[in-house]
């Protein structure tokens, strides 16, 4: 698959995320109103919509530019803490995609993204934040690719399942970072909105990647190192 088609898929992914977040807008705001300041749905929807428009306007982009542009747009549109966490981390992680999308660069991308989120938010697993979804997802992805030698798409599917368990894990625990931490024990029983939106984004990445590889598979150059493995699309 050509680098351009990766970029094209990335544009589609951003559009799909924007659509999904818009559809989940109320759900995210409800979650945030329970333990935060009730703006996560609106902020994220506005940010991703602007990101979708920004990446659609790019002429002949490579995948790094698409991801970086989406990140910069989230930074300027989302604001608050979610802007730097989502947008800033995407901007920095995009540098891992300079040489295109491979299983290797995808792992590096995921790791850098996680590292930036953790640095910036100073949060660990158990603090009831997006990190609770991201850490298991990224670790699972890395292990699936590097140790278990799974095709990238299978690895991504496993990562999404891990993120889902991470989101469920945020329900019974007490928040110790972010605005929800102010509630202390009253935060128990509520699902974290940041972890939830992270899961939605990952689900859309998986869906987009699946469709992308389905489409690419017939014409894919088998000798190209960037082909993740057409088998993975489960045709």
């Amino acid at each position: 698959m050509s680098p351009d088609s990766d970029a094209e898929a990335a544009v589609t992914a951003v559009e799909n995320v924007a659509e999904r977040i818009e559809a989940e807008r109320e759900r995210l705001t409800d979650l945030d109103s329970a333990i935060g300041d009730a703006d996560h749905g609106g902020n994220m929807a506005r940010g991703w919509q602007a990101a979708a428009e920004a990446v659609a306007d790019l002429e002949d982009p490579d995948i790094e530019t698409v991801v970086k542009t989406a990140g910069k747009t989230l930074l300027s549109e989302v604001g608050g803490a979610s802007g730097p966490l989502y947008g800033g981390s995407l901007v920095f992680a995009s540098a891992e995609l300079t040489d295109g999308l491979t299983a290797e660069s995808a792992v590096a991308f995921a790791e850098t993204y996680l590292e930036k989120v953790q640095d910036r938010g100073d949060a660990r697993v158990g603090d009831k934040t997006m990190v609770d979804a991201l850490v298991p997802a990224v670790h699972t992805f890395k292990k699936s690719v590097e140790t278990d030698d799974l095709p990238p798409l299978d690895a991504l599917a496993k990562a999404v399942a891990a993120a889902e368990r991470g989101v469920a894990f945020t329900v019974p625990i007490r928040a110790s970072k972010g605005r929800a931490s102010y509630l202390g024990w009253r935060s128990v029983g509520h699902q974290d909105p940041g972890a939830t939106s992270t899961l939605y984004v990952m689900e859309e990445l998986l869906a987009t990647a699946t469709a992308h590889l389905d489409r690419e598979a017939p014409s894919a150059d088998a000798s190209s190192p960037t082909v993740p493995d057409a088998e993975a699309s489960e045709e």
């Binding site: 300027s76 604001g79 608050g80 730097p84 947008g87 800033g88 910036r120 938010g121 605005r179 102010y182």
Partner: protein, 332 residues
Amino acid sequence: MKKLINDAETVVDEMLDGMVAAYPDTVRRLPGTQVLVRDDAPVDGEVAVVSGGGSGHEPTHAGYLGEGMLDGAAAGEVFTSPTADELEAMIDACDSGAGVLLVVKNYEGDVMNFETAGEMAEMEGTAVAEVVVDDDVAVEDSLYTSGRRGVCGTILVHKAAGAKAAEGASLDEVQRVAQKVVDNVGTMGMALTSCVTPEKGEPTFDLGDDEIELGIGIHGEPGVERTGTMSADEITDELTDAVFEDLELDSGQAVVTIVNGMGGTPQMELFVVNRRLQERLGERDIETWDAWVGDYMTSLDMAGCSITVCAVDDELKELLSAPAETPALTVR
């Protein structure tokens, strides 16, 4: 609630244009942003000192733009951090090649956006350093922060860092003196009334006619204690004792003090508070080297005040008394 605004959506934008119109020789606006910079930025050969934060704290931050203080000030929406891309634009516009010091108040959104902007600027080759101001002694963690909030002591950081930069000092040196202020300053505030944000149009928190809140931050976020009304002296003693306890000042120590109005308190009352503050310092044999009284970091129309005390050595004395020429503060 009656307000002198046109539209909550455009209030920050219109405020910034009004400021530029008031000080056309001192500040200019970066096109397409909510960033104001010194008219002569970037200043050749000098480290730039920049800051920023949510609007609603005027004259913080743009009021301190000018010779001897800030080079750039980014305004966010009311009580909301500026975004990282605007901060990056500010850093770019102010860097003369000597580097940029970011003065950040410890609020989660501010810290994250400044750090992101700083890292992006570094990727483009700009030397960036940062200090995080956390002078509020009232609460350890708050609605908006991990750790102590950054409040009025930030003005002293701007002053000292700006003076050091004006001497032509290196980025390391400017950061060092800024951190020295951070390490030696404490603040505690209180509210007599809530503020009213333009967007909400009604008080952001309920405070009865016979109630006050001690230890409040600059957004009306909760403090440490809600009590019945007290006299000015009693309130001053509460605030002063908390700051003294935190700073552990020795007798004979020289300090700079600020009695800061929250936006809705007359100067008359601030001077009454200052009178008592100076009495208390005298009782403890602490030497007031300089006493500032006025609205330095406000919370819209909230009535109330904060008291800031900063221990100073010879170096800080010199920097805090060095010349500055800004809309909100002039030192000659």
